[in-house]
């Protein structure tokens, strides 16, 4: 099967700054893919090149087998993009905006699907309001709706939940997950790593224009982390000396200890009891994407220096 998105040896410079350095990336159809990285890592530049909003200095990009430069009409028909910036056309209402957007893709009489996305994204009350009168969260919903008017098989969301309330986040992810189940390929950038971890099956991490990690969510978390973190709130602010060697950190009154396996908990509690220290609160933390992310970003910094 052809990949949903194929990025081959893409380079991009802005002046002397190398925004993307020889990026190769293949996203298969049906994937729920996370593109992660700190600000300025090149995520939005890469998305812009995939969407045709920016032109690569070298390399090729195709969407569902269509080159974004030489076959741009077909490439763009297969792609829906939710831009990061909250942009809108102040001359039109929500429904007009969506009807116009459908028209750009050559679709007439799209009102059934438009009604459905309006309803699914909770825009019913605002459908005939002018875009100017909408709150930021509502404008964000319209941007998502606009990216879906032509039912694209590939959908890219560039930080769709930045500054968005909990309710929209949930409605949005429910809807996007359904689209993914129905066969749409989803690519997502976000700074909320828990969101990415819960939703995505594969991850690429970008740093300074390079892909520094690319793997399934499971492998990445499994290979990069071992054991668990035991977080303790104690009646005293020190640890018995036996436990100091497995301490990771101490902040805000919380001791984080590194465990290789769960059955170490028992002996730790015993040690504390013997030292006459009370446990006020206790949490056993699973390794997560955030831990991996921090680790990878730290390591690749050492490499690049």
């Amino acid at each position: 099967m052809q990949p949903a998105i194929e990025v081959t040896r893409v380079n991009k410079k802005f002046g002397t700054i190398r925004a993307l350095d020889d990026i190769n990336l293949k996203i298969e159809t049906g994937e729920f893919f996370a593109l992660l990285g700190p600000n300025g890592a090149g995520k939005t530049t890469l998305i812009s090149i995939i969407a045709g909003l920016a032109l690569a200095d070298g390399g090729t990009v195709s969407i569902m087998g269509h080159d974004v430069m030489t076959q741009y009409p077909d490439a763009r028909r297969n792609l829906g993009v939710v831009p990061q910036e909250l942009v809108f056309d102040p001359f039109f209402s929500v429904r007009e905006t969506l009807t116009i957007q459908s028209g750009y893709y050559g679709i007439k009489n799209n009102h059934l699907w438009i009604d459905e996305i309006i309803q699914r994204l909770g825009l019913d009350d605002k459908a005939d309001n002018n875009m100017r009168t909408l709150s930021g969260g509502m404008k964000r919903r319209v941007l998502v709706a606009q990216s879906l008017v032509h039912k694209p098989p590939v959908i890219i969301l560039d930080e769709p939940t930045a500054g968005v309330d909990v309710e929209l986040r949930q409605t949005l992810w429910d809807f996007i997950q359904q689209l993914n189940k129905a066969g749409h390929t989803i690519v997502l950038t976000t700074h909320y790593l828990q969101e990415a971890e819960a939703l995505c099956n594969r991850v690429a991490m970008l740093k300074q224009g390079e892909i520094v990690a690319l793997d399934s969510m499971q492998n990445l978390i499994g290979s990069m982390t071992t054991g668990y973190t035991l977080r303790l709130k104690l009646s005293v602010d020190y640890l018995p000396t036996e436990l100091e060697r497995i301490q990771i950190s101490y902040h805000n009154g919380l001791h984080d200890l590194k465990l290789q396996s769960c059955n170490q908990v028992e002996s730790i509690l015993q040690t504390l009891r013997q030292a006459d220290i009370q446990v006020l609160d206790m949490q056993l933390l699973q390794p997560d994407l955030e831990e991996v992310f921090v680790k990878i970003m730290r390591e690749s910094r050492v490499e690049s220096v």
Partner: protein, 251 residues
């Protein structure tokens, strides 16, 4: 073609929805020129024999309104959607650069015709204006507004701030319009200025347009039409190239 017609429709709605500002206001300000010049000059100046100055002036003013509004339409639409960022909705779509170009140009022609037509109709209520060769007037109005629309597309893409666009409008479009024979026949100018005027493409638009009304002109209407058409094609090709290259639109 649905994509193209949608963009054209949207561009049309964009100015139509704010018609007070985009159609009515320029009609009123053009009529104010007419009123002032009629009052001051009508009895004192005669450009063409047996044609009152005001009657001579009207086609010039109509064409001036057409020129300015056709330019303003394409350029302000382009810079507004660029600065507000909503140009991405067009850039993300499968619309070709040619479709984008023609939608902007046709909307500019439409606004030019509406404003010019408005001025003409109001003037017609007060003055007896001959219209000997209506087809010529129509040809020049369409070619002229297409040329200015194409120029507007280029200026709107080039300008990064409203300030730069205003400079383009005030230092290029306005002087070329005022010095193109809207208010006078170039034969009344000293020979140096007459020669210089021939390098102003707007001269041929005004003169050719006026020919349609009176059947008389400073320059052969065929020559004028050829020059205006050549300019229109050249500027359009440049605008299409600019859109195709992604200059200042696709980074």
């Amino acid at each position: 073609m649905t994509g193209f017609f949608t963009l054209l429709h949207k561009e049309f709605l964009r100015f139509w929805k704010v018609g007070f500002q985009t159609i009515l206001a320029p009609i009123v300000s053009t009529l104010l020129y007419l009123l002032v010049f009629f009052h001051v000059l009508d009895a004192h100046v005669e450009v063409y024999p047996n044609v009152a100055y005001t009657i001579f002036l009207i086609p010039g003013l109509v064409m001036m309104a057409v020129i300015q509004n056709a330019f303003a339409n394409a350029s302000s639409s382009m810079i507004q959607s660029k600065i507000s960022g909503n140009i991405v909705f067009v850039l993300l779509s499968p619309l070709s650069y040619r479709e984008i170009f023609f939608a902007y140009i046709l909307a500019s022609i439409a606004r030019g015709l509406l404003v010019g037509g408005g001025v003409y109709l109001v003037a017609l209520m007060f003055f007896d204006i001959p219209l000997k060769l209506p087809l010529w007037t129509l040809l020049f109005v369409i070619m002229g507004s297409a040329l200015l629309g194409a120029l507007g597309v280029i200026a709107g893409i080039w300008a990064e701030k409203f300030d730069q666009l205003a400079a383009f409008q005030n230092f290029i479009i306005m002087p070329l319009t005022f010095l193109s024979g809207v208010f006078y026949s170039i034969h009344s100018l000293p020979s140096f200025w007459q020669t210089l005027s021939h390098f102003n493409p707007f001269l041929y638009m005004i003169d050719g347009f006026r020919y349609g009304f009176f059947g008389v002109s400073d320059i052969s209407p065929y020559m004028s039409f050829a020059i205006v058409t050549a300019c229109c094609i050249a500027v359009s090709m440049l605008a299409i190239q600019v859109l195709k290259s992604g200059y200042k639109l696709r980074h």
